[in-house]
């Protein structure tokens, strides 16, 4: 490819230029997604209701608080990571988001899980309740998640697998916060798998098939 070709390419790109509207600011997008989460989460809380002893649990149960803090970190971190990684030149926020997202998982599932074992001697919950909490987390995550995907799709994503996983984990963590606050079960397995690890589980479940679908859709003609 010669330098003449590059000049020709520049001429052609300039000729084809159409006006574009700059993508919304990251902060505005994040605020919008959080606002949607508050709206959907409020409806979910109204349906599920809050346990009467929530204030007491929050004040006295370290394990519960660690899981909650982990979910908040993963929620905000995952979404910031997904949104920022889709915009060229925003590596700073993307790196911070990644750091917070992973820290949230370590804090919630690692430390929280460790603390739950020692602190809560509640009877184990039925397996169906685990699935119900995971389902609620996914359901609450749906609208904020779609809003995040819409932003990412409008931007210029490169590492789509990681971005999808980060977005799915972030949105699910936001959903899991509502579930965590409104769930009556306190068993070890339930808190660990249906609350603390919900973002990681949903991220894996959502990302792998979505990537496979995207690869099939983008196959080159020779492979079809």
């Amino acid at each position: 490819m010669s330098e003449d070709n590059t000049k020709t390419l520049i001429d052609r790109l300039a000729r084809d230029l159409a006006p574009v509207k700059p993508i919304p600011r990251l902060r505005a997008a994040l605020v919008g997604i959080v606002a949607l989460w508050i709206l959907v989460g409020g409806v979910a809380l109204a349906i599920r209701g809050l346990p009467e002893n929530l204030a007491h649990v929050l004040a006295t149960n370290v394990a519960f608080d660690l899981v909650l803090a982990g979910l908040v970190l993963t929620g905000v971190g995952g979404l910031v990571w997904a949104l920022a990684a889709s915009v060229p030149g925003r590596e700073g926020p993307a790196n911070w988001g990644r750091f917070f997202a992973f820290s949230g998982v370590v804090l919630g599932a690692g430390l929280g899980g460790f603390a739950i074992r020692g602190e809560i001697a509640a009877p184990s919950s039925p397996f169906a309740s685990d699935m119900i909490c995971l389902g609620w987390s996914g359901l609450i995550a749906l609208i904020p998640g779609v809003a995040a995907v819409a932003y990412v799709a409008r931007a210029f994503p490169t590492h789509r697998g990681w971005i999808l996983a980060a977005g799915a984990a972030g949105a699910t963590a936001l959903g899991a916060i509502i579930v965590h606050l409104s769930c009556p079960y306190m068993g070890f397995r339930h808190l660990l798998f249906a609350h603390a690890l919900a973002p990681a589980i949903v991220a894996i479940v959502v990302t792998i098939p979505m990537l496979a679908v995207m690869r099939i859709l983008e196959r080159k003609p020779s492979q079809s």
């Binding site: 000049k7 520049i10 006006p19 993508i23 060229p88 080159k220 020779s222």
Partner: protein, 205 residues
């Protein structure tokens, strides 16, 4: 620390004076380009070329792919121009695009190198073809088969498989739609398969 004019300054962007001017110019041109100003866009892309060539050359193992990557960067800048926000610095934005385009090419070269290991043995035994492998050029048997294709089909196959562009990038480069490019490439593959199949039956020259 005081700024001496040439060294790093205390401004929030943290750039020396001369780069700040350049940065301000690029920001203004990009903002104008987003509004549809073709002259500003042409000036911007032309002004970026020297920086892009240095940036890409510093990251590639050899000079052969530099112009190719620079063109990919320009295409990416064109496709991603809506993701630039005029209040943000332009340099980090364009450098991220350049870095990703360079990494894409390096990955493509690695993939191609892996695939070439499985190429027909006849080529490896042929000293001319062996030289082609070393210089990262097209194998002789493939070059011969490609040269028999109509120009449009050859271009489509080359852009998709030899330059490892995506369908949309290749279509943009060829000045056609992705659908039309896929059709050209498909016809090209069919013709190549036919030619290479009959060549294999007769023994590859």
């Amino acid at each position: 620390m005081e700024s001496d004019g040439e060294g790093p300054s205390n401004d929030p962007v943290g750039l020396p004076e001369r780069y700040r001017d350049l940065e301000a110019r690029w920001q203004a041109w990009m903002a104008a380009a987003q509004k549809g100003d073709t002259a500003a866009y042409e000036r911007l892309l032309s002004d970026l070329l020297p920086m892009l060539r240095i940036f890409v050359r510093a990251r590639l193992r050899n000079d052969s792919g530099v112009e190719d990557v620079v063109q990919n960067v320009l295409l990416s800048v064109h496709r991603a121009r809506h993701t630039y926000r005029p209040e943000r610095p332009f340099g980090p934005w364009v450098r991220t695009i350049a870095r990703n385009a360079t990494l894409d090419l390096l990955r493509a070269q690695t993939r191609r190198a892996k695939r070439e290991i499985h190429a027909p043995e006849a080529d490896i035994e042929d000293p001319k073809a062996a030289r082609s492998f070393e210089s990262d050029a097209i194998p002789v048997w493939l070059e011969k088969a490609l040269s028999d294709l109509p120009a449009s089909q050859r271009e489509a196959v080359e852009l998709l498989h030899l330059h490892e562009l995506s369908v949309s990038e290749a279509a943009e480069r060829a000045g056609t739609t992705p659908g039309a490019l896929k059709v050209r490439a498909h016809r090209g593959y069919r013709a190549l398969r036919k030619r290479l199949g009959s060549a294999e039956e007769q023994g590859i020259e």
